[in-house]
Symmetry: C2
Subunit: 407 residues, 2 copies
């Protein structure tokens, strides 16, 4: 098998840990696999470099930022290659530029356009482990670019796609994807499999195991992705396309949640076209990200437009909307800044009616008031008062029997 | 004027110092010059990286070492470019590979073969300061190479040669080249000018202001080299070719010295051909560097072959020679491991007789016994007991009036 492994900053955070990673890589190779390893900067390094940059320039030049930060991964690839060689495992390191991970020129958030496989194929055929710097590439003009934070996951998936690898293994400090956050629910269960679509919903809703972008990428190029722990052995969680998943998908795969949200309502909005744009135009101009949006018509033929933002943006958003509301003849702006969002995620819910009502029933039993509801193909989200968050997650986890593996 | 400036690790050793360097560079540009800046890794960085490598591999792979160490300079170029931009001075950084400092593939000690000027010219014409990583290059296959310790000086001189710069300024922590070490002689004097040839003798004899290799390079391509301080203003010392020097060169420019040498003699060597090779072959095979070599015929038609090595190599050298001496029928091996070498250097001595006798007279006055004498075109060296070193240097400095500028 051809396997791409990716180790994050914590996994390579010290010389001892780099040695442990080398052992893991060598073991995988000893089983007869060809191995490409992608590594991040040692934990702390990127933050240190960023701090130095900010001492020099308030908004450091993006090109120079990329020049600076790319040294972090370059350091790790050299050290890991040495660690591999020292245990008799031939290895060769490459910067992003050297394997020609060609990107556009959008410094600090570049997108991969093409990957040259020639060097890697040659080394793999000679029995070498190929060690590639994550997070970085090079543009047409030869400038060093970076893919943005978490870009090492994207590098790994992109290499796996280019090499048509049998599996892309993302090693992290957790041993897989769970039905929900184990810190909230004691008997949260590690999932053996999850679909790309579910993973995307889980990731974007706060289960920060994988970068969303890398999951999208993996889904698009059908790369088998596995999340597993670099500190303990175990099968981890395999992320696959829906048809590769199971004959019968479990109805609900997991429960994601987000704290620290605020709910903002513009109430009594006249029911004429263009109102939504009048609300969200200025919010977007202020670079405030909006999460859930709900609109419904009240009895008096006026609308209430309600949405959620990160709590830190609530004050700015309501300030902007005060004048907007006046201008459009709305009754006013209401802010509720202690809300949380809880979402059930599962590709199986498509074919199952009644999931929503079971969810609402479970919450009602705990007397948790639902403030907003939104649904998508594979997810139902509710916004509730923040203090009920843990209670709600536990109630739902139990109501849908997520502690038990699917039969 | 087109000026290449080089700042060493101490000069860029902290964010504050990088800011100070930026001020100096911007000032040079504000005077109407085009400026290319070459920088080393921040002091301490290279040692840290090397220490990490040695924790992983006893003899780290040279290719991976270069991959690792080259991150040091890459960090500095990004930071210095930010510092320049933050004070309104447009700047752009380049790794060795990006300006295509093409080298051979001798990792950790690569030699520069070619430099591509295109990028640099473009930036300079657009009024930008070009910031280049010292010490590093790239080979034909795209592997990162390094030029070996002190290679940043070589980078600077090579860029100056390629760009036909008007001057190559090497900023260090001393304000120029002195007649001798000011820590030994209080009234040692900074030289306004010195010739390449003299500088080579001074450098190789222990005045470690500049790397020998960069001086050779500068001499070969006739690059005007100036050594000056990055901490205080001043004209520094200009290093020029002899014909550009002065009408009448001073007889003696300076006094160089080396401590920690050992003197080894193979005595009573039969006077037949091939004996010198029998002595130095095995020494060279053991990678021991030999400095002074003297041979003279004794009264009994046997030779004494005497040479000096670094003190740390004395034991190994004498061990090797014990058996060699037996084999070649020599009387024995004598080791004297507390010697030092003192050298008068000056291109003017070529045309002046009597320098040697004045030197010997000055030493005799202080009752310093001379153990060995060697001479070259522009230098006379003596080996003496180490404890007399300071006394000898002071006596000679005064005997040749080096505290006074030449008339």
């Amino acid at each position: 098998m051809l396997i791409v492994q990716k180790y994050g900053g914590t996994s390579v955070g010290s010389i001892e840990r780099i040695k442990a990673v080398a052992q893991r890589v060598a073991a995988c190779k000893a089983e007869g696999n060809q191995v490409v390893v992608v590594v991040s900067a040692m934990s702390g390094v990127t933050n240190n470099l960023t701090a130095m940059a900010h001492e020099l320039q308030k908004e450091p030049s993006p090109r120079e930022m990329d020049m600076l930060l790319s040294t972090g991964e370059q350091t790790t690839i050299a050290l890991l290659s040495m660690a591999l060689q020292s245990i008799g495992c031939p290895a060769r390191s490459y910067t992003g530029g050297q394997v020609r991970i060609l990107t556009d020129s959008a410094h600090t958030k570049a997108r991969i356009q093409k990957i040259d496989q020639e060097h890697m194929r040659q080394d793999l055929d000679q029995g070498k482990v190929v060690v590639v710097a994550g997070f970085q590439g090079v543009d047409e003009q030869g400038n060093i670019t970076t893919l943005g934070r978490g870009g090492s996951d994207t590098t790994a998936v992109a290499l796996a796609a280019a090499l048509k690898a049998d599996e892309c293994q993302i090693y992290t400090d957790v041993d897989g994807v769970y039905t929900t956050d184990p810190r909230v629910v004691d008997n949260a269960r590690r999932l053996d499999r999850i679909t790309f679509e579910e993973m995307l919903e889980m990731a974007s809703l706060g289960s920060k195991v994988l970068q969303i972008r890398s999951v999208e990428f993996a889904g698009k190029y059908n790369v088998r992705l596995r999340v597993l722990s670099s500190f303990e052995d175990g099968p981890g969680t395999l992320i696959v396309s829906e048809d590769e998943s199971m004959m019968e998908n479990p109805v609900i795969s997991g429960i994601a949640f987000t704290r620290d949200e605020a709910k903002i309502s513009v109430v009594g909005v006249p029911d004429v076209p263009g109102m939504a744009f009048k609300v969200f135009g200025p919010i977007s101009d202020a670079n405030i990200e909006v999460d859930v949006i709900v609109q419904n018509i009240g009895a008096d033929n006026t609308n209430d437009i309600t949405f959620t933002v990160a709590k830190k943006d609530a004050a700015a958003a309501s300030r902007i909307l005060e004048s907007v509301a006046k201008e459009m003849g709305a009754r006013g702006v209401e802010v509720e800044d202690r809300v949380a969002k809880v979402s059930l995620v599962g590709v199986g819910m498509r074919s199952h009616a009644g999931i929503a009502s079971r969810m609402f029933e479970a919450l009602a039993k705990e007397s948790i008031n639902i403030q907003l509801i939104t649904t998508s193909e594979i997810k139902i989200s509710v916004v509730i008062e923040e203090k009920y968050l843990e209670l709600a997650v536990r109630a739902l986890h139990s109501a849908f029997g997520l502690e038990n593996p699917p039969k």
